[in-house]
Amino acid sequence: MMIATSSILTTQALQVQPAKGQARVSFIGSRSILLEAPGEFDLAAQRWIWALSQIAGAWSDVAEVIPGMTNLLTILKETPESPEAVVDRLLNAWDNASSVDLVGKTVEISVHYGGEYATDLAALCDFSGLSDREVVRIHHEATYRVFALGSAPGFGYLHGLDARIYMPRKTVPSIKMERGCVTIGGMQTGVAMLTGPNGWNSIGYADLQMFDPSAATPALLAPGDTVRFVPARIEL
């Protein structure tokens, strides 16, 4: 197994870096490398991941980079002759990456809170000890950032959920959750992009086309975008 940690910078002692900490690196198969940022699930860590993504994405031996939630998967074009050298290169890039703030657009998503699609609102009230009205208010008053896209075409993982309405993923997923459900999964929130099994908790519904495979830019959301949920209707 390959678990490597970041080495301490000695040659660039004058360059002041915020404390980034040691990244964890592991392989998936023989040519995909996952680098996980240490520390909190926060915007600072994600900004370094965005920076690393731009650096590694430009390397000639890299086929694809996939930013996740404070982590980055780098897919190489072929199995490297020296995996250690690639890991070192990635860790060096992590150590040296400056914080990047992606300048995104602001997307307002109109939401019907409560009602027939809010299948988990009652459970969330029980879990949080808040009333349904409070849960909805806390959800739509926050401002969110798109950290990464993944899981389903165009699905944006949103950061910025108020800790009072964190809700663990369900141990038994809903068999068929509708596309458009506004959901909470742990400390993340997002809008379901596909109808199907889903472990997140639904509190409302948004009727918005967020993915079009024939468009020049197929996904509406991009990392760095700001998202606001605007209540079109609250049905409690």
Binding site: M1, I3, R24, S26, F27, I28, G29, S30, R31, S32, L34, E36, F41, A63, E64, V65, I66, P67, G68, M69, T70, N71, L72, L73, I75, E78, T79, P80, E81, P83, A148, L149, G150, S151, A152, P153, G154, F155, Y157, T171, G186, Q188, M193, L194, F211, P213, S214, P218, A219, A222
Partner: protein, 331 residues
Amino acid sequence: MIEIIETGPFNTVQDLGRPGYRNIGVTAGGAMDPLALQIANVLVGNADSLAAVEVQTFPFKLRFLGPSVFAVAGVDGCPLLNGRELLPWCANLANEGDVLELSAPPRLARAYIAVAGGVDVPVLMGSRSTALRGNFGGVEGRPLQKNDRLSIGTQVNHLPLPASGLAVIQPSQAMADVFEPIVDGVLQIRAIPAGEHHLFADDAEAFWSQIWRISSRSDRTGYRLSGDPIKPTEVVEMRSHGVVPGVVQVPPGGEPIIQMSDANTAGGYPKIAGVIEADLWRLGQARAGGKIRFVRSSHEEARRIEQTVARYVEDIRQTVPMVKRALNALT
């Protein structure tokens, strides 16, 4: 043009997939056995990237609505053209109205029918592959249905096919020295330990030593394995991260899932291992009920196998046009 006369569910148009969009949540997709697809394309004189029909539920029948050069690769067992047995892994000529029939293969899972010119459905995000998650690509984003008619592209600079057809030695035979034959029905799949392997402690050994069965709840997205559950010594809450086909994740129940061609693009279950990319085509030919055992591999071995496969494909790519020219010169 070809017309589908009979099909099971979940047969689709596939090419080599649409890598490059996982960062917006779009799976790469593409053929479950990309090697067979490539060889079928080379046999009929197509570029590797052209689309073919992937058949994974049988029986399957299609009619050629015009004269066509075609090849069937991937499975064992012989395709029938108008009821006459053909060699597998062989390019043949079909006349207008001819019917190609594939019955359930003896052991393997997926057949690729390539036609000279390629199946011509619209290219979406760089590929003609059907994305069943998201319902786009291929034919209206759905599996093939009876009476579907598929256009075939026009082939430029094609060499006529010898009347006797043209066959290749299939990969499992041609590269028997690097791909161990299936013994007692157990397919050996090479993998490299992944990020959370250490969390499984003693259960990690149980993962490598036991024979897993591919459950019936398996499809192009992933194979669920059944066997003695393995559990990590501690439960870690992982942040969602990108995954690729071949990743072996262990959900709370303890029975691993291998993500396949239509892999989810992100995941958060602990990863015990990752199948080496060069073995994915063999896994793509394994079917529900089949048995597999994981064998610890290394980057060095993975690279060697990758290069062997690349040489095999390149050899065929060089040889096919040479043989066509030589045989055509004789007639």
